[in-house]
């Protein structure tokens, strides 16, 4: 069941002009994806893997749309090359709404392993990174989306378990 926060996040993407989203699901993003699927202003094309999704986003951008990708942080393990040689090399603005699994509140121990590498990978790639830990952190989302377009870079928005637990 989608929360107000899910609606607010999708509303911010729509308000910013994002009209193409690809996703690979995560339990924490289930509500956001539910809202996405009933938002006619955004074309949602699920992908099988996040590098494929970034390819779709690059093509959609060149076709005049404004893309975004919704994914889990574990996927950073598979998209490093795509981020460097496609999204960054060709300067494609790409907001990445990322479920930050493996932080406090995480029930699955294995998720902690990629949580340990998440910010290190993003730092190594020089990707602007914003971490939503409290619900009020989402106030920054419109600014972050503007910032992404302004600088034509991939930008990471990490949303952790505490954020989703406290969000209403």
């Amino acid at each position: 069941m989608a929360k107000e926060m899910d609606k607010r996040i999708i509303g911010d993407f729509v308000e910013n002009g994002v009209d193409f989203v690809t996703s690979v699901p995560c339990k924490q993003l289930a509500g956001v994806i539910e809202v996405l699927d009933r938002t006619p202003a955004i074309k949602h094309v699920p992908s099988n893997k996040e590098d494929e999704g970034m390819g779709l986003c690059a093509g959609a951008y060149m076709g005049g749309m404004r893309p975004a990708i919704f994914m889990q942080n574990t996927a950073l393990g598979v998209v490093v090359n795509t981020l460097a040689t496609l999204i960054q090399f060709y300067q494609i603005p790409l907001p990445m709404l990322i479920s930050y699994r493996g932080e406090v509140g995480e029930p699955v121990a294995c998720q902690v392993e990629m949580a340990l590498h998440t910010k290190a990978i993003l730092n190594q790639l020089h990707i602007p990174t914003y971490h939503f830990h409290r619900p009020e952190d989402a106030d920054e989302l419109p600014g972050i989306l503007n910032h992404t377009r302004m600088c034509s870079k991939p930008v990471a928005i990490l949303t952790d378990a505490s954020f989703w637990r406290d969000a209403t």
């Binding site: 093509g59 060149m62 795509t82 496609l86």
Partner: protein, 184 residues
């Protein structure tokens, strides 16, 4: 017929079409044969020519031809299911299937052995899939464009490369002139 000669015979058909071309030798060969603003050259990111072209076809109405290779399609096989389940009649995926990783020394791919990419595409749900000899590919591509129907063409050709220069064009220049051609 090797890929370079196949691309040469395709030029009259693709020269004024939007083309997303695979990394390495295919892009270098196309660039040396017929550089056009309507060509998007991939300078990296093996496997995504199909996905980039498909994203472009989803976003606008002009025909888009992705020129991919058998080795590259094998690295991103699942995208055939994304393409099949979101069909767009302005999209043509041309898989140049020479049964080898041409840019890295012609090592054999599994598509040159027991795996049929045409059968995989059909199993993924792509409705119009044709497998043709290299010599018949220009006509098959022209027919697919005229039919205005999403088509996957698997073009069987011989393994081998010709020596052409690497592309030194700036990636932003490639993208910006391509986007201008898309918007024209």
């Amino acid at each position: 017929m090797i890929r370079h000669d196949l691309l040469k015979t395709l030029i009259p058909v693709i020269s004024d079409q939007l083309v997303v071309c695979n990394i390495g030798a295919p892009s270098q060969e196309l660039h040396s044969l017929d550089d056009q603003p309507t060509n998007f050259y991939m300078l990296g990111t093996m496997g995504l020519a199909s996905s980039i072209g498909f994203g472009l076809a989803l976003a606008q109405d002009k025909p888009v031809i992705s020129i991919d290779g058998d080795g590259s399609v094998l690295t991103n096989l699942a995208t055939l299911s994304t393409i099949a389940n979101n069909p767009r009649d302005n999209f043509i995926l041309l898989i140049v299937d020479n049964g080898s990783y041409g840019s890295t020394g012609d090592q054999p791919t599994y598509a040159g052995r027991r795996t049929s990419l045409a059968a995989v595409a059909r199993a993924c749900g792509c409705e119009t899939v044709i497998e043709v000899a290299a010599e018949d590919t220009p006509q098959a591509l022209a027919d697919a464009l005229a039919a205005k129907r999403m088509t996957v063409i698997v073009s069987k050709c011989d393994s081998g490369n010709v020596q052409v220069p690497v592309i030194t064009m700036n990636p932003i220049t490639i993208r910006e002139r391509f986007m201008a051609a898309v918007a024209e």
